[in-house]
Symmetry: C2
Subunit: 412 residues, 2 copies
Amino acid sequence: MTNPPFDFSTFYNDGLPAPAALTDGSFPKFNFVGGHNAPDQVPVEALLAAANKVIKREGKNLATYSPHGGPQGYLPLREFLTQKLKATAGMDCDASEILLTSGSLQGIDLVNAALLSPGDTVIIEEANYGGCLSRFNQARVNTIGIPLDKDGMRIDKLEAALKGCAQKGIRPKYIYTIPTVQNPTGSIMTRARREQLIDLATEHSVPIFEDECYADLIWDGQRPPAIYALDQTRRTIHIGSFSKSVAPALRVGYLVAPPAVMSQLLALKTDAGSGALEQMVLAEFCRDHFHDHVIALNTALKRRLDALTAALSEHFGTAAEFDVPPGGIFLWVKLPKEVDTSKLAQAALADGVAINPGAEWSIAGEDAKRYMRLCFANPDENTLRAGVAALAEICHRAFGVPERSANRDRSK
Amino acid sequence: MTNPPFDFSTFYNDGLPAPAALTDGSFPKFNFVGGHNAPDQVPVEALLAAANKVIKREGKNLATYSPHGGPQGYLPLREFLTQKLKATAGMDCDASEILLTSGSLQGIDLVNAALLSPGDTVIIEEANYGGCLSRFNQARVNTIGIPLDKDGMRIDKLEAALKGCAQKGIRPKYIYTIPTVQNPTGSIMTRARREQLIDLATEHSVPIFEDECYADLIWDGQRPPAIYALDQTRRTIHIGSFSKSVAPALRVGYLVAPPAVMSQLLALKTDAGSGALEQMVLAEFCRDHFHDHVIALNTALKRRLDALTAALSEHFGTAAEFDVPPGGIFLWVKLPKEVDTSKLAQAALADGVAINPGAEWSIAGEDAKRYMRLCFANPDENTLRAGVAALAEICHRAFGVPERSANRDRSK
């Protein structure tokens, strides 16, 4: 006689996230979600050459945990980063101030593990990365959302929020910002606003948590100095990633912090090091190819964005409003207020179109529901066009908008 | 005027681990700590060939998170594991019951995140992996230690512990065991004891957490069926690793669990997937080479163990007692009771010899202090011999033992 299958659920901690569906990860026909990149832009030949060189030269070193650099990660990649961050983001940092992480997500988790407890308050951009919003939710942390415009976080609103906190005796644990190619709005915070943000954070004695994981993906290559670079008070923790600039499946991100903070965060990184082979291959690749690769990648991404915006104009007409972003891999689209994008996302997925509904990418309440995030880096241009056409049909069916698209008036 | 450097410490959560020293990770001259492996046993040529094949064939797929298999990891590697676990551990499991993790440590962290809260109780082997002991400590979880002998966990003591818990109304969250090449004792739990453990766990309705990360490293290749394989009640979560059998710096481990548990653990794995390149290279390598590689590796490891035990006999004589383990990468050594290995470790490190003191690898209280763990996979045989000679000198200086070594009587 077989026992009934054992029930673990009565052993689980309270407040766990809902169990995940077990899937094979295959994409819907039209996939506008996820930070995936363009398969034809993976620098396969150069990565192959890098892998060959570095495995031949240093393969034996894989016998030890965290070879060539210790717990903070492969030193040649950290040294590449010191040069890259100086050249592109104006950051003066030493390799000892850099921690290589398993994607920038691990950086987010380390910072949150050090700083956030249930009931704490953080100040964030109102439209935000869904993965951060779900983390704050799971950690039972209160979020104060600051609206954005084309120049990034609205500093007047930030000032009001900080004053409000002070009046209520709330000490925010940090101001989290994605200043360069903000997710999902795509805005780039101006240098002036970065300086104002630092001034306000200093005045209110609040740390800054700067997430620049998209900062390499700018069409004109012009990136303002990182907040980390401008912040003389050293209250900023900075994270970045190679997931967006080289390949998402290589889980290599980085965190930059002053030594005392680095020591504390490193004590929380109990994973015996992030994968060294990926760090080695990246270091070898980046030294010779990163700069040119990113230029080529941005050219390709810009072409895809153009295809997406053209398709939206064609199929949604004036029903789809958006600011054309100066870089990145996503478009933040505002639809007429009768559209609830959570319902749209559900209907669309049933028809093979995946989108991010605004409610999962913004804490703006009711207003969030009319927005959607469309990721454009992975589908090719034809797929982008066909996907938008399909989405317009589904949206029309469910909400009566768009009324007109292309040469066809759907209201007739 | 520059502001004083910002002090993050007042923003930190309570109960964080002590800040870590920032190091470059370089080893002391004689390094008997850490799960490092033999550099000359890294299968560099075969890994290189595997990397070439798989990057050529699937490099483009690195453009998407978790390519070819979704969130549970690269499917070909999971499929290799289903065959390997069937052949070597008697486990019948489907690829959908396997989750690839960033080292088996991530598996430990996922299981603990699901099951353990402060004040909970777990039953563990008394001598244990230091990384688990520090995790329990950090999580404020109570541990009940079960003594071990050459056949693994003492089942009579386990039974007594479970009865004691029942009497006190304590429901342990799991029984954690490293049944095959136990860390640090090197024992292999007999099949009979595995069955008895399952019966007791069933009687007391406790989950089992089985850590088989060393199970490939057995000199005669004979591994008893995994507890997961023998457990008809499906109360077992199983973890394993390629860190020990192929290369530690490749951070690839795996977790095997029934579907409902898998769904819950997967929801806690919010890292957007573990590094795909390492999984791909391993899958390609393992299909053709894993079996032969492990045989060659074990031959080399056995030679190192022989060098270590011979050196201990030569330099420590009867002062060093140990059971010669049937596999693995460490030796658990008992010294005369006047030796405090925590003090020895400190003195030794100052002289370039690193050892694990028993107090960090056992919860046996006073008795733990006379033990030390010596890892032997990384240093070559000459280094092992020289390291043991140096350690004997240091130990004699500090504690007067060993009195005699080789042809020399240190007491004179």
